[in-house]
């Protein structure tokens, strides 16, 4: 059996054993969210920073369902459309309780939700200087990925396809180029639709995947959480095992010698 224990996933000097990161949005309720996370085996979850509901104090709190001491909270800037908003959000996130590991996501268009890479790059520089450990959502563009790396990013997180689209990895070549050029953790973020998409990401050499909608909005979120867990493990094992070369013609599996 392959020893996956030695194959640690390291982000910003912190060791994780699960390579699946999951989002905590779009679930029917907190209980469903917490159970799906448990089943997925994820050790890191993305969370959003929003106003406390002053008028309804009985609203269930995320921290009451997912213990931040057991699961690493990754504050995210989802919904921010410029550097100023993103920086404000993450500075506040840090203040809640010392969160330095964050996910930066600066969007540029309300319809396709593609990242605004100019604002993203600016924000990465500032955050890295302020001592944040920044995991950066980005386009699947090798040049931009390189620039992010040079600006102090701790992980490169290219999209597979638009956020929530479920389209799966659209540009395998670019992902492979980014894999070849960087030693930073490479995590596919956004656009996955089914478990096999995660396997493909892992087989391309990615270090992890981040999934939210594909699990939360599946008809059976709990089963899909398990499927993604297994898919990520399978993809990683497959990648580490070294696939065979592709050839154009057939190559028989049985020896031709001794045929009667």
């Amino acid at each position: 059996m392959v020893n996956l224990k030695k194959d640690n996933f390291i982000i910003a000097n912190k060791k994780f054993s699960s390579r699946l990161i999951v989002g905590t949005g779009k679930y029917k309720n907190m209980m469903e969210c917490a159970k799906a996370i448990k089943l997925s085996g994820a050790e890191i979850v993305t969370v959003a920073v929003r106003r406390v509901n002053i008028s309804n104090k009985n609203k269930p709190l995320l921290m009451d369902y997912i213990d931040p001491k057991k699961i690493t909270y990754l504050p995210n800037t989802a919904g921010c459309f410029n550097s100023k908003e993103a920086l404000r959000t993450l500075r506040l996130a840090r203040e809640i309780g010392g969160w330095k590991l964050v996910k930066l996501e600066v969007l540029g268009d309300k319809k396709n939700l593609f990242p605004d890479m100019i604002e993203t790059l600016k924000s990465t520089e500032v955050l890295a200087k302020e001592g944040f450990r920044v995991m950066v959502y980005c386009n699947d563009d090798p040049l931009m990925a390189k620039r992010l790396e040079n600006s102090g990013a701790d992980a490169i997180m290219p999209l597979a396809a638009p956020i929530g689209s479920g389209l799966g990895i659209q540009n395998k070549i670019n992902i492979q180029i980014i894999r070849k050029q960087t030693k930073l953790p490479l995590i596919i973020d956004a656009g996955l639709g089914q478990a096999s998409d995660a396997t493909i990401a892992m087989e391309l050499g990615c270090d992890g995947v981040l999934v939210n909608t594909a699990i939360a909005k599946a008809k059976k979120p709990f089963d899909m959480a398990v499927a993604f867990k297994n898919a990520v493990i399978a993809g990683r094992q497959s990648y580490n095992s070294g696939r065979i070369d592709k050839i154009l013609m057939g190559n028989p599996s049985s020896p031709s010698k001794g045929i009667i």
Partner: protein
């Protein structure tokens, strides 16, 4: 009877009327907000949570209290 002086502040986007010498800590207590689960901005500046008992609220102060919720 002595009339209690009140001032208006903006809390998470909503106008609230509070007692004149209210401190930030009083406001948090009034709304049963657990300090260890939130971050606070006063007039767009992040507040050191250790100092909430010393900050006196003024007229037209803008307070934002945020926490973590589910997100992608």
């Amino acid at each position: 009877m002595k009339k209690i002086k009140k001032i208006k502040i903006r809390l998470n986007g909503k106008i609230k009327s509070i007692i004149y010498d209210y401190k930030l800590l009083d406001l948090l207590k009034h709304h049963k907000i657990a300090l260890n689960k939130v971050a606070i901005e006063l007039n767009e500046e992040i507040i050191d949570k250790k100092k909430v008992n010393k900050i006196k609220l003024k007229k037209n102060d803008k307070i934002e209290i945020v926490h973590f919720i589910g997100g992608g």
